[in-house]
Assembly symmetry: C2
Homo-oligomer: 367 residues x 2
């Protein structure tokens, strides 16, 4: 099977071309699942041309049995299917109080799909991880040079590591998305899926695993996809991003939407987190002065967003700011403001959606 054509739904928002970075229109949220064509796309380099017939995944490093696995080898192993909400760590960047470099995601750097594949634990078990091993590096076939904010010093592959202490039974090496072969823009023919982690861990075009005995210090976990973490009194240290933080987001009304005075309106949205599940959600229609509880419309599931709604009848014309905030089963709350140590990532303070309530329609109904 040679590389299929990309399937892209109309309505995706172009944030960058070549490499393509495409955003899901979040206001179209209507169910748990996003179609593969509508799933947001985050690319660092051009899509590599790969052929599933000749494709191999190498497993090397501190393992007893280095492996070369074909796609057939992987498909012959026990398969799992998992529904996973994936969010780009830079989602909502356009709303940062200080303009930050990077892809200017608005609300739709987040999507949900069903992924089918073999567990990373099973593959590493076949290879036999040796004592002293600390991390596994996942490397994609995509490559190029990074220049901003720091030069990568030449061409590099996209690569991210996972600590071996993570539950690797949960991590998939996926060859299907929503029941069909992966589209090229989503990593055909093989992609890592790391439940509960930001999307940077979901390495696309995955063709190499290397087990190492140190914390990996590559570009995409030191310069990119890293933040400052304070430990004691010393200046903060650079640490790789990992699990998603709790966030509730409003799908409708969309930013700048005009809604009608006196007419019932259903406010909708989703909430998600990397650890635990969203437990309560609250919505404010007055810029954060008062809050009302939202109603969940889907069950709590690990690593999957949970949809919510609130019925609202606008009673006052003019501009409104809507916000949403959640609390997780782990007691996690969203911060009131963005922490500068997170840089242009992990943007989880409630985003104010500015809309207008128009009295015109209501007036027409009451002539």
């Amino acid at each position: 099977m040679t590389q299929p054509d990309p399937v892209l739904a109309p309505g995706l928002i172009t944030r960058q071309v070549g490499p393509d970075n495409l955003e899901t229109p979040f206001s179209a949220l209507s169910g748990e699942l996003t179609s593969p064509g509508a799933h947001y796309v985050r690319s660092h380099f051009p899509v590599p041309v790969l052929d599933a017939e000749t494709f191999t995944l190498s497993v090397a490093g501190r393992v007893a049995h280095p492996l070369q696995l074909s796609l057939g080898d992987l498909q012959a192993m026990p398969a799992q299917t998992r529904r996973i909400t994936m969010e780009c760590a830079g989602n909502n960047r356009v709303y940062l109080p200080q303009k930050a470099r990077g892809v200017q995601w608005e609300l739709g750097g987040v999507s949900t799909a069903d992924w089918t594949g073999v567990s990373l634990a099973a593959v590493l078990e076949r290879a036999g991880v040796q004592p002293g091993a600390l991390e596994v590096v996942l490397q994609g076939a995509d490559r190029g040079e990074m220049t901003d904010p720091l030069p990568s010093g030449g061409e590099i592959h996209y690569a991210r590591s996972l600590p071996l202490t993570l539950d690797l039974e949960d991590v998939l090496l996926a060859y299907e998305m929503n029941g069909a072969a992966l589209p090229p823009q989503h990593g055909y023919p093989l992609r890592a899926i790391v439940p509960g982690w930001y999307g940077m861990a979901a390495v696309k075009w995955l063709n190499r695993l290397e087990v190492i005995d140190r914390p990996y210090g590559g570009y995409f976990q030191t310069v990119d996809y890293a933040r400052w973490e304070g430990r004691g009194d010393l200046p903060p240290e650079r640490v790789p991003l990992s699990a998603m933080h709790l966030k509730a987001q409003i799908a409708r009304p969309a930013p700048r939407e005009v809604v009608s005075l006196g007419r019932p309106y259903r406010v909708t949205g989703a909430a998600w987190c990397g650890q635990g599940t969203p437990q309560t959600v609250e919505v404010s229609i007055d810029g954060g002065q008062t809050w009302q509880p939202g109603r969940w419309t889907t069950p709590a599931q690990t690593a999957v967003w949970r949809l919510w709604e609130l019925d609202w009848t606008p009673e006052q014309a003019g501009p409104h700011e809507l916000l949403a905030r959640a609390v997780s089963s782990e007691g996690e709350m969203q911060p009131a403001h963005h922490d500068p140590g997170r840089g242009s990532y992990e943007i989880t303070h409630p985003i104010a959606i500015s809309i207008v309530v128009s009295g015109a329609d209501a007036a027409q109904e009451n002539p």
Copy 2:
């Protein structure tokens, strides 16, 4: 003793103001020692105002006896004086083939001074380093926010770590420079001196040591003062800069100097390295086509530059490119070209000094 006034020699080249970054005019090189006023200055934040009377150095972290040492306490310990050549890791940056961000050092981000102080080993011995300790972080009193190339996420202190495997008997906590109290711009009242390492390790205004059990990941050893190091087949990893690499540099002629046809001219310069000592030096006056051995005029000393000269009588008018290159006692050679993995640091390929040989003067001598 309150903070003295800065002493600055005329002729320093201003590379940046507020914080001050000042370059030594390298063409003035005339002996091993640079005067404190002429020593290059590298600052990241404004000079903190410190008073030697009330100053304390804290020693904390994984130590048996946390300490608060006054300057008097340190001066009561056995003192050492060492002659040290210090070079900014970004020296020669203005000559990079691709324009790089940062202070645009030409040739004079390098100087030599006599530093007097107590060994870091002695101080740590008093504190009692505990088992499992890996590094010691040296923190300065200077602080501010970094924004380029990456935001530091708020105000930070300047801080760098040293591995405890380094010979810490050799590392000085210096309170005197060339026999007098440190000038404010060189770290009054206390500065670390790390022989053989680039200047970023010579933490100024040093008032805190913290022993830790991990590799330190602060701003100045991940974003700044770090490079890409390849290990095996994975994309390169970010590692902190450490020891100086071998370099030979031409002091005279200076760039764009005009020298006279047929008149004897003494080409001079220096060579230095972090490990071993410079052993041979060669000079080319024809852009690298042919090389002649230079003559050392000072002895080989660890961590001190070694001066050299070459007598040359220009035999052809017109533009010339002069280069110098050295070999160290460890067999280290300078690379022909800058390694992109080094980024805007460790620039040690031979720099071509462009000059002009003028026939005018020689013609006047032979009327």
